[in-house]
């Protein structure tokens, strides 16, 4: 047969690869979570490009034996070309599954996380020798004007990321802010293990890139400082619980006695959700309000608009549930694809051994013929096994979008609860205003009955009126905040819907093209063997 020599050397070359193939499957990578693995291994590259080039080379060497490029090849190339062109501008890396937003002309903001290093906390702590922590090198390339440079690096630790995330949550209420990686409470020994560090590095990179892909958040001061400011991160650290509790305890008496001398109720504070500890009383009041809302007696004057939002939320909730289900099934599918590829490969290997055996021990020509047939099947099986492997890597890359959107749904839920809590603040203030009003009315009615006035009562009335003014300001502030968040919600929802539409259609297309392309490649591999063995079929199967 033509090309037999090629096939022969290819068989033994691919046998080596098959051996390593089998070894790979034994390594932890093969059994790790199918979604996280291929991405983490490839994100050492600046653009975390799933190595389509790498997958092309073994195919091209196959193609030298097989037929010329097929329909699937053409589709593959065009598909991957689509994805690589925005790379030049680098605004968005589709391949690492970040939400694609329309890049404004040519600006880009590219972030890489690398080089985890262990560092010592200088001992101002009680623990002798200090505690160790890990920092990562954050490298940024950008041409956005608000940055001081075009290429720079800083070192940050995970705690800084938490800070960044918290500050963003405060500043960008109502936005669909990408979720930061989990804190994952583990012992310090595990912390230093290579696998953990690599996982965390990859997760951090994904997070920062998602932030950079968000049209509004990428321009935030908080992100800029995180990426650019040398030395210590100049963002306010989220204070620990103990000091918060202390603060709250100090504030409490003033709030309880309602002595709001001189604008104690800071309008800005109103624009923030009630934080744990500091605003014990506020939380208490808002809880009371929400309970009274729920139990219905008084209809709150500011009504949550409406059925449209409620409907929308329900739809999103349904979507989230189904998405979670699909994500699970997708994982199972990936596992099944992996398994069939492995078994195909193992069977191929077994036939390779058989072929060798028969060839070495052949006494009859029929044995040699059989060995030759078997070799074809063995080679084909090994090829098919490699194709399954590649198919799976690509499948994971596409279906990971499902997984990613589950994260987005969490961000959506956060944004909606920003809105709910802002509304609650407004409602709380409104009911305070109404209770202040009725108190003032009562006092005024009582005071008017006494001729000449009641000095203590009049003084009281003045105080209440002052409180009322301050509360009225707070209410306006709260309403403004609520409206602002509503607006953010609306815009984000629009953006989300469009991106979801594009992203999922893209995912479907990628998935389908992939499946079709690899199926075609496999068909070609088997067609050759079927033709080569067609002589045996004359008895009509």
């Amino acid at each position: 047969m033509m090309g037999y020599e090629n096939q022969e050397s290819h068989l033994y070359a691919s046998k080596e690869e098959m051996e390593s193939l089998v070894l790979d499957d034994d390594s932890p990578n093969g059994t790790a979570h199918p979604f996280s693995d291929p991405l983490s291994s490839s994100s050492s590259l600046p653009f975390a490009e799933i190595p389509t080039d790498q997958s092309q080379t073994p195919n091209s060497s196959f193609n030298s034996i097989l037929e010329p490029p097929s329909y699937a090849e053409a589709i593959f190339r065009s598909f991957d070309a689509d994805h690589s062109s925005p790379q030049l501008n680098g605004a968005h890396d589709h391949s690492i599954a970040s939400p694609s937003s329309p890049p404004s002309s040519d600006d880009f903001l590219t972030i890489t996380v690398s080089d985890p290093q262990k560092e010592q906390e200088l001992s101002n702590s009680l623990v002798p020798g200090g505690t160790a922590y890990v920092t990562y090198l954050i490298t940024t390339r950008t041409n956005l004007p608000e940055f001081d440079g075009t290429e720079f690096s800083v070192r940050r630790r995970f705690r800084d990321v938490v800070t960044l995330s918290d500050r963003l949550a405060e500043s960008y209420r109502g936005f669909f802010i990408p979720l930061r990686p989990d804190k994952s409470v583990v012992e310090s020994q595990v912390m230093q293990k290579q696998e953990f560090l690599e996982q965390r590095r990859a997760a951090l990179e994904k997070y920062l890139r998602r932030l950079a892909a968000h049209p509004v958040i990428r321009r935030s001061e908080e992100l800029r400082m995180f990426l650019e400011a040398n030395g210590k991160l100049p963002l306010v650290r989220t204070t620990d619980v103990a000091s918060r509790m202390l603060d709250g305890a100090v504030q409490l008496p003033k709030q309880i006695f309602g002595e709001t001398a001189g604008g104690m109720v800071d309008a800005n504070e109103v624009a923030q959700p009630a934080k744990g500890g500091r605003d014990l009383l506020r939380i208490f009041r808002e809880l009371k309000q929400s309970v009274s809302n729920d139990w219905g007696g008084v209809k709150p004057p500011v009504v949550e608009e409406d059925k449209e939002l409620v409907e929308k939320k329900q739809k999103l909730h349904d979507f989230e549930q189904q998405l979670s289900n699909v994500s699970q099934q997708a994982e199972a599918l990936v596992k099944a694809q992996q398994d069939i590829g492995e078994t195909m490969g193992q069977m191929g290997l077994a036939f390779v051994k058989l072929t060798k055996f028969e060839t070495e021990r052949a006494v009859y020509d029929s044995q040699r013929t059989r060995a030759a047939d078997m070799k074809n099947v063995a080679t084909a099986s090994v090829k098919a096994s490699r194709l399954y492997r590649e198919l799976n890597a690509q499948t994971v890359k596409h279906l990971d979008k499902l997984h990613e959107y589950l994260g987005v749904m969490l961000a959506v839920n956060n944004a909606f609860s920003d809105r709910s809590s802002a509304l609650l603040t407004v409602q709380t203030l409104l009911s305070e205003l109404s209770s202040l009003n009725s108190r003032i009315e009562k006092l005024e009615a009582a005071a008017s009955k006494i001729f000449g006035g009641d000095r203590s009562r009049i003084r009281k009335i003045e105080e209440l009126k002052e409180t009322h003014r301050v509360t009225e300001d707070a209410k306006s502030s709260a309403v403004k905040e609520y409206e602002r968040i509503k607006e953010n919600n609306k815009n984000e929802l629009e953006r989300f819907e469009k991106e979801r539409h594009d992203d999922f259609l893209g995912m479907l297309r990628g998935f389908i093209v992939n499946q079709a392309g690899y199926a075609e490649k496999m068909a070609n591999v088997w067609k050759t063997v079927a033709e080569e063995t067609s002589g045996y079929a004359k008895h009509g199967s």
Binding site: Q322, L354, R500, R509
Partner: protein, 401 residues
Amino acid sequence: MNTMQRSGSGSLQSPRSSSSQAPFLSVSVTDPAKMGNGVQAYISYKVITKTNLPEYQGNEKIVIRRYSDFVWLHDRLFEKYKGIFIPPLPEKSTVEKFRFSAEFIEMRRQALDVFVNRIASHHELRQSDDLRIFLQADEQTMDRARFQETGIFKKKPADLIQIFKDVQSKVSDVVLGKEKPVEESTPEYEKMKNYIFELEDHLAEAQKHAYRLVKRHRELGESLSEFGKAVKLLGTCDDDALGKAFSELGAKSEIISIKLQKEAHHLLMNFEEPLKDYVRAVQSIKATIAERATAFKKQCELAETIKFKEIDLNKYRLTRSEKLAEAEREYEMLKAEGEETSRRFDMIVRLMNEEIARFQEQKTSDMGLAFHEFAKGQARLSNGIADAWRSLLPKLEAHSS
């Protein structure tokens, strides 16, 4: 040159035939049917024989047989035709659950059909009386014949004595401290034996993976089906283009899942089964090897016994003992037995040499067909999958615009 075919007709072109029609013997095993209830339930098969051979009654005969009847036939042939690789039987089912599953029954029927046809196309075996009984006898006769073979009746008295003698000699050998190596040790035969034993290991491994591959196809089909269902549900959340796209993907996944299940079955029947059959054939050869070893040992032992008898004979001649006459008689008997044993052993050797060549050829064509079916099935599956997915793309383009 005899061409051994695997398919239905076991036709033999006999140059000696002067009759107008070439002699043929064609058998098929069909129509499995469950008989009886509960623990005693079993499957019966229709065995249809079409022939023009004079030894057979009429052109066509249909009998009902069960698995143990096939076992009887196999065992009889194994006893009578030492040296010939008797075609292997499918295994007895050990797992109760599967005994009546459609797939198992079909696999067994196919294997039994192949079994009988191989016998009918083997130039020696086809002439056996037992085959004729099997193909022709009414059910009662068959039952009786089968019953005789079961249990201790299986072993004929002569065999029992032989077994006893074996144990005896084994014991005396051990007592005397010598384990005589009574094995053939011609290099060619050694080579062949090693080959057979190693071949079994290699084949068993390949077959194991082939069986797993069948399972993987089924598993992939199932998970694709579940995936499709979940995607369809996701599609109901949107009533725009995206929702439709999901629904279409889901529907297509389910279609492809069915293709996978189909291919799994095809793979099982046309690739894994032949591989398993190959393994059984090798095991059958091993049984023949054991028979040959037994015959060789017998030959050696008899030769020894004859030698000792000669010594005794000479002793008696010299001492003019009255035991001489009887000893001479015994000696003649032993010599006759020795010749018979040698003759039998030589036949086994001769037959095995023919059989091994035939076996290799048959296996090349059997496996060639199996490989062909495997490749054809995989190509068909992959093409079907590629077509199915591709058909979605134009719709998807429409949704994107």
